[in-house]
Each structure stands twice: as structure tokens, then as C-alpha cells.
Symmetry: C2
Subunit: 173 residues, 2 copies
């Protein structure tokens, strides 16, 4: 049986105990952008937040691009979120390959070269990458300057968040 | 205190009880695309799935665009997910506004007209919209034809999933 069919069977039973009165109307306090990685699925618990507290935007590698900006605008401009938290994590899969290697492989396997995605956003430096995503959100002209944009790295060894400074530290050379 | 500062304080305490041995290496069985809405945050439980079972891709309105395709490719081509599940939901905020009204408002409030996001993907018909997203994923040349792409509507009144047929029913006129 396919995984999806398993979930449909499970849902039929689980929904018998569902009480819609336990689901509050959405009133997110903040928007969180993080990775699609299963190890980030319980991130709200690690932050002491309830389910109702956040709009959760997730993609491969915690990327801020056109689509995350779109979601952040809906969250902050329409739904009332007042802060933006970008949470990258250690041991991210996007550190393990290069865009060009994956693109070459898919071109060979499929014989096709689609226009999109333009990039896979693999990266080498977790901190620089987090900073870059913060800057993309901060600099978008429709993200209100009154909405804080802060970036973090979640350490899967310790369960702790570390804040990433928006400015890169000056390195003596 | 800001919400983010609250979460940082909470994380300091919660992480004291964190055990990295309880976090399994990622081995997702399927990729799920759903909405950023807080009411969808517990969707895995409603499907009888464990945290480890799925890569979770979330954005405003369960949109399949360049970035969700990118994430789906990373999930299915690199991380081993073998099925794609697209889960829209009733009462979605994207049913409550139009792209042009939001764009007009943001242009007026900010005095700026950025190039992106090109669209907000607001929609009128939940089922048609779900079908459109399924088609975008299904037709991408790098999504393997061996990976099922199935679309659903999650009913917030009942907690039940309803599958959406890929083909629109013929309507007598």
C-alpha cells in the first residue's frame, strides 16, 4: 500500500475524535521560515510556542526567495504577524551537494532542461547563508520596516538557537 | 518583550532536556506541500504520520511554484521521498482577497512597485486551485513520473481529507 493510502486510512479513524471547537481562528503572532527537514517539524515546541502562535513557512534549506517573500507578505500584511524569524539548522542537506552537480544529473536522467527552478540554493556556509536570507527579507520594499527580521541557526546536537548577526564580522587578513 | 525574545528565553530552558539521540537522521517517506496556516501545523498527526515520515513544505495557500518545485526535487531526487501529497484546506485566507487589491494597497502604502512577487496566488475555487497545483507538479519535467502526485482538501470542520480528482468533472451546461 502506498504511503498516501496509509495516511488516508489513518485519517478516517483519527478524524472520528476531531473536535473543530479546539481549532482557533488563525491569529499568528509571528512568521517563521525554516527548513522542510523532518528534524525541524517540532521547532515550535523547542521555542515554547503553541501551534496557534505562528505561520510556518518551510522549504528546502530555509530559502527566502520570491515565494517566501509572498508568504511573509500575506502573513505580516494580512494576517497580523508582527515579527519574522528565519531558522536555518546544522547538518542541512543543502550543504551536501552543489547546484551544478544536481542540475547535470537531472538533465542527464531526464533529457530535459526546464527553465525553473533557476537555482537549488545549495550552500557552503551556514552562517553566511542565513545572513543572506535575512538580507533578502529585510530589503524587500513591501516588508514593513517596523517588522523585525532576525536569523538563527538551530543546532541539532543541542536543541539550542544561536542568533546570526545581520552584519558579517570583519575578518583580519 | 518581543515574541522572538520570548522564544529565545523559552528555548534556553527547553533545550536543557534535549536529547540528540531522539532525533533520527532524515529519511522522509513522502513530501507534503501544505499551507503555512497555524491550523495545518498538526497535519501529520491527523494523517497518522510520525515527525520522521515527511518533508513538510509550507507556504501561503499551498502553492506549487518554482520554489515548491525546487523543494520537491530535493526531497524526491536527493532525500528519498517517493510520493507527493498536496494538501489545501477549507477556510484558507487566500480565498479572502484578490491579488490586485493587495498589490494596490501595498503600492500605495509603500510608494514602491517591486518586480516580485509576480503573483500572490489568491484564488476563488478551492478544488480548481488544488487541481492546478497538482498539474504544475505533475507536469514538471524533473519530477519523476514514478512519483505519485495527489491532491487533497483538508476540511477544518471535520478533520477529514478529501481527494481531488486530477481531471475536472465535465459540467452539463
Amino acid at each position: 500500500m502506498s504511503v498516501i493510502d496509509e495516511t488516508l486510512n489513518a485519517n478516517k479513524t483519527i478524524a472520528n475524535d476531531y473536535d473543530p471547537r479546539q481549532v482557533k481562528p488563525p491569529a499568528p503572532r509571528l512568521a517563521i521560515v525554516t527548513c522542510m527537514d523532518p528534524r525541524l517539524t517540532n521547532i515550535l515546541q523547542m521555542l515554547g510556542l503553541g501551534v496557534d502562535d505562528a505561520d510556518l513557512i518551510r522549504n528546502a534549506g530555509t530559502v527566502i526567495d520570491d515565494d517566501s517573500i509572498r508568504s511573509l507578505l500575506v502573513s505580516t500584511r494580512l494576517l497580523g504577524s508582527s515579527e519574522i524569524m528565519i531558522i536555518n539548522h546544522t547538518d542541512c542537506g543543502m550543504l551536501t551537494f552543489t547546484d551544478s552537480a544536481l542540475e547535470d544529473r537531472l538533465r542527464k536522467e531526464t533529457g530535459q532542461t526546464p527553465i525553473t527552478p533557476a537555482r537549488f540554493y545549495s550552500f557552503n556556509d551556514l552562517e553566511d547563508n542565513t545572513r543572506e536570507q535575512m538580507q533578502k527579507a529585510r530589503s524587500h520594499p513591501w516588508i514593513s520596516p517596523t517588522v523585525p527580521v532576525r536569523g538563527f541557526i538551530y543546532d541539532l546536537e543541542t536543541g539550542r538557537l544561536r542568533e546570526v548577526s545581520p552584519a558579517r564580522a570583519t575578518v583580519a587578513v
